[in-house]
């Protein structure tokens, strides 16, 4: 069973890339925190004077961009040839 799965390399459960999922969720969180930091009450009595939402939002956006760039640069690791042919997955893995 597992041998056929591996040798064809076509139907792997990992074809949707976890890096895009992580990148987009952290990116959305980054935007939300950034806006909260800019528009909301920074509650500096809790944080000791830092606008924590703003900074955390910026860092999250940076990490998010990192994941998306990684995914763009190295898209192939475990390709499903049906889904990813447009981004240059080598046929037959």
């Amino acid at each position: 069973m597992s041998d056929t799965t591996r040798s064809t390399g076509k139907k792997t459960a990992g074809a949707f890339d976890v890096r895009t999922i992580i990148g987009s969720l952290l990116g959305l969180y980054g935007v939300i925190l950034l806006l909260t930091g800019l528009l909301g009450d920074p509650e500096t009595d809790k944080t000791g004077g830092i606008n924590a939402n703003l900074w955390a939002g910026l860092v999250l956006l940076l990490v998010s961009v990192g994941f998306l760039v990684w995914w763009k640069l190295r898209p192939i690791v475990m390709a499903d040839t049906d889904d990813h042919s447009e981004i240059g997955a080598p046929p037959g893995h």
Partner: protein, 603 residues
């Protein structure tokens, strides 16, 4: 939680369970009062996470066409994904809150749960044991038992494992319910059903892939939640120097153990419960570092399953080793917040100074378990607060999902397929796996409600199941390296080892609470160390004696299962020799070991 659920951890579950009883009765008289004020931004962050989790389940569903896809992710995942999932499956909220609790109470010695109690065993798993797990193409750890020792040891291992997973999933769910109740004010039932429904949906849809992808996602959400909390906390106390000054000041006026014990990881007397520094070091190194942690990390299928899902032998071996790198830094975002809470949060500082503050977190009396929740309340503005709540809930759900995805594999392959309905087509077992997931979730909800009324019974059951872990490592390691070891020795060693651990627990002062007799004057973590060590020694000795008088398996049946009968090509990955050093198992493990030694020397 002892060590059955999430590795060797402080005993958190027990004290929490009994307190929640008070909380529930208190809530009948007082209107529900929440610890924090969550606003719509916080809720938005939480709902967004739930959306992503379910989306992963739906996406993963498209890629499942047989049982290997469902139970083992088609053996297709790269090492960094399985490596992060490996530590995430263990990084449940019970562990996060338990570690910060221990950090608040004892300080730095808590790092031993990571640097001594996890990393060496994880490296050993990758370097020494994984070649047999992955190379023999077994689909679960109990299946390795079946191939090596036959049905006796297999049944003992798979039944105790499956039952323990159900129990732990239930306890996890129950604790999640109580914390959601404390933080957001939802009723226990609503929290329980919502969490169970989400976990059920994504595992039934996406199987192990969905569980693993969610674990990786959860890892980043937890770091995003805990890192700002730690940094803001350090900023508030004036950096590391400020923190040590304030802990010293508090300790000098009688709060907690002496300051030098709180601020140095060794010899860690307060943690181990031994007065003598030498005994303390021996207890930590052998009890925690060897017997407890090797038993858990190297044989627990919840962990090993993550490595089995990887795409090559090399990736499987590197899974726990890659996991070791983030694992060694997790203490900095769990234990240090606990230490900060002990000087910054009024309630926790009061508790440490000997007071009995009351509150609304996980019980009407404040305990160290609440340290992280109170720190969140005191330090985080709305927004980051939502992220922190999301991180905790994510950790709870991922912990429960890990237990359930390991349960459905062992139930379908090791129990149903091997003993109940044999020789059906693959699609049949895939359906069994999905049904087992539904069943397991229903049982977990049942267990959770049971835990609400009978918390003591639950914590003793957890302690009991923990003892099944203790002798497993002995049987595995002897079986992997001694071809003479016989099937009879396999199951007898396991049963006798477990029984001896249970016996020691009964004779100790408090391992089974008031049921313990107190004949052996040892309590707390020391009792857990002693019970596990006894199980290990009894298992090894009995296995050797029984092996010498019973008939071993023929050597040709041990190919891939025992070191001396396994050709080198089966144990290693041919592609690895040409890979750069950072993609090879042994250099990577050496680097991790060196780093952890440096960390031990620094703190």
């Amino acid at each position: 939680m002892v060590y059955g659920g999430s590795g060797p951890t402080p005993q958190w579950g027990r004290s929490l369970c009994s307190e929640v009883l008070f909380e529930v009765s208190a809530q009948l008289t007082v209107m529900a009062q929440t610890l924090i004020d969550a606003n719509w931004v916080d809720y938005g962050i939480l709902i967004l996470y739930f959306g992503f989790v379910l989306g992963i389940g739906l996406l993963a569903r498209r890629h499942i066409s047989d049982s290997v896809d469902f139970f083992l992710s088609g053996r297709s995942l790269p090492a960094w994904v399985t490596g992060l999932a490996f530590i995430s499956a263990n990084l449940g909220a019970v562990e996060i809150m338990g570690m910060s609790a221990s950090g608040a109470e004892f300080g730095l010695p808590t790092v031993h749960y990571f640097w001594v109690g996890a990393i060496p065993a994880m490296l050993f798993l990758g370097v020494v044991m994984m070649p047999f797990y992955y190379g023999s193409k077994v689909r679960s750890v109990p299946e390795f038992m079946l191939r090596r020792f036959g049905p006796g040891a297999h049944l003992v291992n798979s039944i105790s494992f499956a039952l323990a997973q159900l129990l732990i999933a239930g306890v996890n769910l129950y604790l999640l319910g109580t914390i959601v109740q404390a933080l957001l004010g939802w009723s226990l039932w609503v929290a329980l059903l919502v969490a169970a429904a989400i976990v059920l949906s994504y595992i039934t849809l996406g199987g192990l892939s969905a569980a693993i992808y969610n674990e990786v996602l959860q890892f980043f959400v937890i770091v995003a939640a805990l890192l700002p909390l730690t940094l803001i906390g350090l900023h508030r106390v004036g950096g590391w120097g400020g923190l040590t000054d304030r802990i010293t000041e508090a300790a000098d006026s009688g709060a907690g153990p002496p300051a030098e014990q709180q601020l140095n990881s060794w010899p860690g007397q307060a943690l181990s419960g031994f007065d003598s520094p030498i005994l303390s070091v021996i207890g930590i190194v052998f009890g925690l570092g060897f017997v407890l942690s090797f038993g858990y990390w190297t044989t627990n299928f919840v962990e090993v399953q993550r490595a089995m899902a990887s795409d090559s032998m090399s990736a499987a071996r590197r899974t726990p080793i890659i996991g070791a790198f983030p694992k060694m830094f997790i203490p900095f975002i769990t234990i240090i917040p606990g230490m900060i809470a002990a000087v910054l949060v009024a309630e926790i500082a009061d508790l440490k100074a000997g007071g009995t503050p009351s509150g609304v977190a996980t019980g009407s009396a404040v305990t160290y378990n609440d340290a992280l929740l109170y720190l969140m309340r005191d330090l985080l503005p709305n927004g980051l607060l939502g992220l922190a709540i999301t991180g905790l809930l994510a950790a709870f759900m991922a912990g429960m999902a890990a237990n359930i995805s390991a349960f459905n594999t062992v139930f379908s392959y090791d129990l149903w397929q091997d003993y109940v309905v044999k020789d059906r087509d693959d699609g049949y077992y895939l359906r069994v796996g999905r049904l087992a997931t539904v069943l397991a979730t229903a049982v977990a909800i049942g267990t959770a409600t049971f835990a609400a009324s009978f918390s003591n019974i639950m914590s003793y059951l957890q302690t009991l199941f923990g003892f099944f872990n203790a002798p497993l490592f002995a049987t595995f390691i002897l079986g992997m390296f001694w071809k003479r070891m016989t099937p009879t020795a396999g199951w007898m060693g396991l049963v006798a080892g477990t029984a001896s651990a249970v016996l020691v627990a009964f004779l100790s002062e408090d391992a089974f609470g008031s049921l313990s007799l107190g004949v052996v004057p040892i309590a707390g973590q020391g009792a857990a160390f002693l019970a596990a060590s006894t199980a290990f020694v009894v298992d090894i000795l009995l296995s050797i004696v029984v092996s010498l008088v019973t008939r071993p398996k023929p050597a040709e049946e041990l190919r891939g299962l025992v070191y001396s009968e396994t050709p080198r090509e089966m144990r290693t990955d041919p592609d690895e020799a040409s890979a750069p050093w950072f993609r090879r198992t042994v250099p990577l493990a050496g680097l991790a070991l060196a780093m952890v030694i440096v960390l031990n020397a620094l703190f």
